[in-house]
């Protein structure tokens, strides 16, 4: 382990495994993400991509292995007999460093856009109203929705809601952002605006793990592509290599079934 590389490592998974009853969902997953990197996670449905993301912020507790955010172990404490589950307070302390965007947006329907954005900064980070609103305005600027501060989520289109959800995560000023198939629930004509925002974030140096079926995005924006199948990582390659020279015939078959948009 080179200490220099480690200092810029935001996320590290070592031998992570997870079972749902008798069904293995993840087994021996190893992954490292450095600061500023965008990693696309692709693969057939049911391959464990979403489970992987949810383990990272401990919405699902993993069973074996270790996940680190920076040098902080996620969800567990190490003691003499092994790993014991961490306190809720410590788990939350890590969660606020991780932004998450969901497939179905999950905005808070009883709050306006502004209300959605200040909720975390105000009540979790306790930054004060002025700072929370400053962050909200800045985040809305990033996603291009400054004119919607006062709107309620159900007054927005799906694409706009998803951009607000991205802004909500950004307001926490996270070290890493997790995107869980964020365009899968959108009408096709709305996908572009959300991907555009994500592209901009990636170029601004945000560290991102993106579970996606958008191969065009993976190819054009991601630094690396991780291919998963049956709960394991089959390939972890630079994007250019992944698409240009698929590592296995299985990946080749997967890619050939998707029509890749041209540049």
């Amino acid at each position: 382990m080179e200490p220099h590389g480690d200092r810029f490592r935001v996320l590290r998974l070592i031998g992570v495994g997870k079972r749902f009853r008798d069904v293995p969902a993840l087994s021996n997953v190893n992954l490292a993400v450095s600061r500023g990197e965008t990693v696309a996670v692709v693969g057939p449905s049911g391959s464990g991509k979403t489970t992987l993301l949810r383990c990272i912020n401990f919405l699902i507790p993993y069973d074996t292995g270790r996940i680190f955010i920076g040098d902080q172990l996620v969800g567990y404490r190490e003691n003499r007999s092994g790993l014991v589950r961490d306190t809720e307070r410590n788990i939350n302390r890590i969660r606020k460093r991780i932004g998450m965007v969901f497939q179905r947006f999950n905005l808070f329907p009883h709050r306006t856009v502004l209300g959605n954005l200040v909720e975390g900064p105000l009540y979790v980070l306790k930054v004060g109203r002025e700072e929370a609103q400053r962050r909200a305005r800045a985040a809305l600027d990033v996603v291009g929705l400054t004119d919607k501060v006062g709107a309620y989520p159900d007054q927005l289109s799906g694409g706009q809601q998803q951009r607000v959800a991205i802004a909500r995560a950004l307001c926490m000023e996270p070290e890493i952002m997790l995107f869980d198939e964020v365009t899968s629930a959108l009408d096709p004509e709305l996908v572009g605006e959300v991907l555009g925002v994500m592209r901009r974030l990636a170029h601004q140096g945000m560290t991102m793990v993106v579970v996606t079926h958008e191969m065009g995005f993976a190819r054009d924006v991601a630094n690396r592509v991780v291919f998963m199948e049956s709960g394991t990582i089959i390939a972890d390659q630079p994007a250019r290599e992944f698409f240009g020279n698929p590592a296995t015939t299985r990946i080749e078959a997967f890619l050939s079934r998707l029509s890749l948009p041209r540049n």
Binding site: N57, L59, G99, F102, F108, V124
Partner: protein, 229 residues
């Protein structure tokens, strides 16, 4: 009849105010109990959940009139017989008719409110809790800021119905001598021998009260909705 109504209108109105006040206080207790019990049932340990289940089963099963007798006639005298001074002091307020009625109706209605609020909490998609937790909120902070405010909107219409049921139920308090609407009707009937007129006027009052309340609930419901289109 019209003349009768004109003569006794102020008296009935007075009784209606007492009845509505009694119902409102009972409802405050009912919703307080219901919220606590529903949270206990949703989030609590097995012991807490069992206590809540027992409370709901018991207080839904006992007729409110029986409960009223138990609270007003039963509890204070029971404490006297036991002779435990702190208990006597604790239960002494129940010698107040209004307070006894509030406790009886509040605990009875609380069992229903528990179920209403519990199902309102269950109606909020679990993704809302996940979204809140992904922001680093603790379970209880997420409950307070995200889940309960949304549940309140779901629970409001059925709680409005419960309020209406409680208002009608306050007529029972006449039996322990609370001077609410029904009690006034009884007194007027006894004094004038005009039973039909006396009780018809009371019935009209209840109907009008319920209609006013129902439109109030609908109004707030629309204001308060989770949809904004």
């Amino acid at each position: 009849m019209l003349e009768f109504a004109r003569a006794y209108l102020p008296l009935y109105a007075e009784g209606a105010v007492v009845g509505v006040g009694l119902a409102a206080l009972s409802m405050v207790l009912s919703i307080g109990l219901g919220l606590l019990a529903a949270l206990g049932r949703t989030s609590g340990a097995l012991l807490v959940r069992s206590i809540v289940s027992a409370y709901v089963a018991l207080f839904r099963g006992v007729p409110p009139l029986v409960l009223l007798y138990l609270v007003y006639f039963g509890l204070p005298s029971w404490a006297q017989q036991l002779g435990i001074r702190p208990l006597v002091a604790f239960l002494a307020p129940l010698n107040n008719r209004i307070l006894a009625a509030v406790v009886a109706f509040g605990f009875n209605s609380g069992a229903y409110s528990t179920e209403i609020i519990r199902s309102a909490i269950a109606a909020i998609p679990p993704e809302q809790m996940e979204a809140a937790q992904s922001l680093g909120m603790s379970y209880w902070l997420a409950m307070r800021r995200i889940i309960i405010p949304q549940s309140a909107r779901v629970a409001f219409p059925p709680l409005g119905n419960e309020f209406i049921a409680v208002i009608k139920g306050t007529s029972l308090a006449s039996v322990i001598g609370v001077t609410e609407l029904m009690r006034h009707a009884q007194l007027v009937a006894a004094a004038t021998f005009q039973n039909l007129a006396a009780y018809t006027l009371a019935a009209v009052f209840y109907v009008v009260l319920v209609i006013i309340l129902q439109s109030g609930v609908s109004l707030v419901e629309r204001r308060f909705a989770l949809t904004h289109k």
